[in-house]
Subunit: 538 residues, 2 copies
């Protein structure tokens, strides 16, 4: 059996290598890699996923020319852990992007955070460098902003973008405005040199990020260097923004304006690859870091289509993502794959595209999707839904088991009073609701409900919206439970949690005086260093 | 102004006629018309509308070859009124398919109903006959089952199907089993000669209906007669069914099996049109009678995608429908139209396809969509959402105003107790819930809430799920309200309600002894005639 499996694996590799053209006598330049990572964009935001206003012609075309994944997942319902998982191929619980300050608490990298991506983690760009790639990140890093976490210390050659989210404006006294970097140095700050008009929503940031992408592609093409572009833009994260030509053009309001500008930008990137004649030598993947932020809906939040809840939760709306693979001449056009995919697969798959193997000294959660992309192979694999330090749920095939449920606390949910006449909406609960209009009794709980002995199990094919748990008494439940229990036990047996990076906060580590601030005259004085336990609300 | 508008309209008509080839010197045979009407299929049930399992390759291809409508509506959230509206081009409140027994009560045509389609209504097939069409209905009629309401008395030349829904089995004592007709006479009854296995879901009815369609098309083609096929199949109405080759093939359970069989059947119908070389002379339209029946979910109900609630309600999930127009050589491939469409438009559009005008002696609610289909024209028009005798809501452009909200009564909703361990689901409220897991405070009400003075207004572009009503205080609300009020006043000024057909019930009028029963030895003895007021639960 083992020998047979090995032989089969060898044959698969041969097929993949052959499909990539690596068996030709003169080894060609390895393919370029472009990962287009959206911020808080939901599964339901693209026309090809059923968004009723159908305002994404370029992304829909990308899907028609490539492979669409309806069952593709982020590694976490929140930005920083999801991004760390993409670049390491490992669950946040392994790479340290979680908190142990509380049970099942979401955590990320605000300005106060002490932690970031550990040096012990091997990031995708670090590994690609070994195959001669030039690597650029455009946009949001979010893996820590202290000097040791700088993306150029973790394998990227170039950076235009920001270490944290474009929140603000801050007052540069209690909190500094978020810096924007070019490579090693800050070139300005959000809301100062890089303005976002909160009243109109106007900002030209997506255009800047687009231009960075186009310039990088052209330059690397001229240099004949294989390249990795990580285009991590953030226009769909609240406060959402768009440039003037796109403002007011969507049926969906300002959020839709941002989507339209992104769609247009993706079209321009793909067109450039085609015009340069390198589309057949460039692997492109489009996805998002977590589900749409329904707390920002309807004005600044997207859509998770038919799925339950959104960002911050481990329901499908929090972690099922839009996902499109595009590689003309390699990935056949117009395919839909039901393979369960993960954002962590982009790590392993990108390495495979480059002809590299993932590190063998640690557990890598990402799978190599090339056999799926090139030959339509299906692989059995679980999807783990963590929230902080807690395994909340797992999906195996069509079944999803919830071991813990909660969205947020009653205190947060119940804040405020209904019916404020000055508010933008009619029923103005100021409370935070990750599942507006979607409360399922016993499922979307506001206390941390433990179901580890008797998980809530849903069949995601019949019930993608997670509204109808299977009966505990059914044979289907019992059979599923036993299969899932095995998988979870195996997972937990081998699990060595990483050192939690998101536990300690300190006002002194904020972006007071990033490198380059002297040249700009924009250095601020940090307060006294007082490390303290971070408080995570959700 | 008026002269200019007339001239423009004349030019439009000229363009349409020219596109249809009617300006050629030898007038060709008018195009065939095929209306594919689904039963309780939801907006979200097709891959092209984002169904995650993507099991409708033929329908998705139909959309890619034709025009997809994301904003297409039924005329009622229930079967009979919706079907009467399709065939008359008129709202149920005009054609009599409503009840005045209670306020805002849904009503249809069960076996006890006395009423049906009045002779005073002009049905689409009656009008098409004037242009030489041969007309066939395959499947569910639902416009009354007493002799005067027989489809062959209302313009159809052929019928294979049933006057009522395939409910049952009944005991032929308290209630007779539902008959299946071929033309004038019953040829058997459901669950007897036409079995449905309620345990396995097996029934070959869709295959019978498919064969009827294919045979009719072939015969009319051979006769060189223009034809109208009304394919009103019912496999996706609970109890859902599929034939053996499709059972167990869907990721979505039995409901999905039914959808897959329908998708396959639609593919076969379109292929036949192409193989016969008549696809360019056949206008095909696919839609559904009302939203998915979420009370039957997850085992026997479909999906309304991102929309609120389902069948029986006047939220989007109750009335927004999948809709695809297909007419190769006339409708350009791969289009999406944001035109607000209505099932009633199929009446007027079909007449227009046939070169006929709608009746001018009455108000017709259906628009001629040919300018949209052929030239992409957009027309301003309201969508009215009635429930029984009550105008519940109206959509104008992107805005929807609710004048009344309710889904069903507290008594119905609260029936039963949670947590029955023997049930198929974990939280077994036996109560009827048209919005499972989707209750929006103040919106999905269980009392009849009047909002006529201050309607709840939603922007369906930003908020297709109807979760966030606009603030009463906003300028957007005030502006929208004044525009919508004008439209409603105009509508109500000209409204002459038809004689309500769904008020009186009588056990004696059930399908005891349909014509042809003697030949089959299947005549049953009706009870004494006792007309009484029908009781409508929802």
């Amino acid at each position: 059996m083992a020998a047979c499996a090995t032989a089969t694996r060898g044959l698969q590799q041969l097929l993949v290598l052959s499909a990539l053209g690596f068996l030709a006598t003169s080894a060609p330049q390895p393919p370029n890699i472009v990962l287009l990572l959206m911020d808080d964009m939901g599964w339901g935001d693209l026309g090809v996923y059923g968004e009723p206003s159908r305002e994404t012609p370029n992304l829909d075309k990308m899907a028609l020319e490539g492979m669409l994944f309806p069952n593709f997942y982020s590694a976490n319902p929140l930005c920083s852990p999801s991004r760390a998982a993409l670049l390491t191929g490992r669950l946040p619980i392994r790479n340290g992007f979680y908190t142990s300050n509380g049970h099942a608490r979401n955590a990320y990298t605000p300005q106060e955070i002490m932690g970031g991506i550990p040096n012990s983690e091997h990031l995708l760009p670090e590994l690609l460098k070994k195959a001669g790639y030039t690597n650029k990140i455009v946009g949001k890093w979010h893996l820590g902003h202290r000097p040791q976490f700088h993306p150029l210390k973790h394998g990227f050659d170039e950076w235009f973008g920001s270490p944290n989210c474009h929140f603000g404006p801050y007052d540069n006294k209690v909190k500094p405005n978020i810096p924007v970097y070019r490579d090693w140095e800050m070139v300005g700050r959000f809301y100062e040199e890089f303005p976002i008009n909160l009243r109109t929503g106007e900002a030209n940031l997506t255009q800047l990020y687009l231009q960075e992408a186009l310039d990088f592609i052209k330059t690397q093409h001229a240099r004949q260097s294989p390249f990795f572009l990580y285009w991590a833009i953030d226009a769909t994260h609240a406060p959402v923004y768009a440039s003037r030509p796109f403002l007011g053009t969507s049926h969906r309001g300002r959020y839709g304006d941002a989507v339209r500008e992104i769609d247009d930008s993706v079209g321009k990137i793909l067109s450039l690859l085609q015009n340069l004649g390198i589309s057949k030598n460039t692997f492109v993947f489009f996805t998002s870091d977590n589900g749409a932020a329904l707390i920002s809906a309807p004005k600044e939040g997207g859509s998770n289509g038919p799925f339950l809840c959104g960002k911050q939760t481990t329901f499908e709306g929090g972690m099922r993502e839009p996902a499109i693979a595009w590689w003309p001449g390699h990935i056949a056009a117009g395919q839909v794959s039901h393979q369960l995919g993960s954002i962590m697969d982009l790590f392993t798959t990108s390495l495979s595209v480059a002809g590299l193997k993932p590190p063998s000294d640690r557990i890598i959660d990402g799978l190599d999707l090339l056999p799926t992309l090139l030959q339509g192979h299906m692989m059995d694999r679980p999807i783990f839904y963590y929230r902080g330090n807690t395994l909340m749920a797992v999906t195996l095939g069509q079944y999803k088991a919830h071991f813990w449920t909660w969205t947020n606390s009653w205190e947060e949910f119940r804040q405020g009073t209904p019916g404020d006449p000055d508010s933008g909406t009619h029923f103005d609960w100021k409370g935070i609701d990750f599942c507006p209009g979607q409360n399922v009794s016993g499922v979307t709980t506001h206390t941390q409900e433990e179901h580890t002995e008797l998980p809530l199990i849903f069949h995601l094919g019949r019930d993608p919206g997670e509204r109808f748990p299977l009966s505990f008494a059914s044979a289907e439940y019992q059979d599923t439970l036993s299969r899932i229990t095995q998988v979870v036990q195996q997972h937990q047996k081998s699990l060595i949690p990483g050192q939690p990076q998101l536990n300690v906060c300190n006002q002194a580590v904020m972006n007071w005086a990033p490198p380059g601030c002297e040249k700009l005259g924009k250095c601020l004085t940090p307060p006294e260093s007082v490390p303290e336990k971070c408080s995570w609300a959700h």
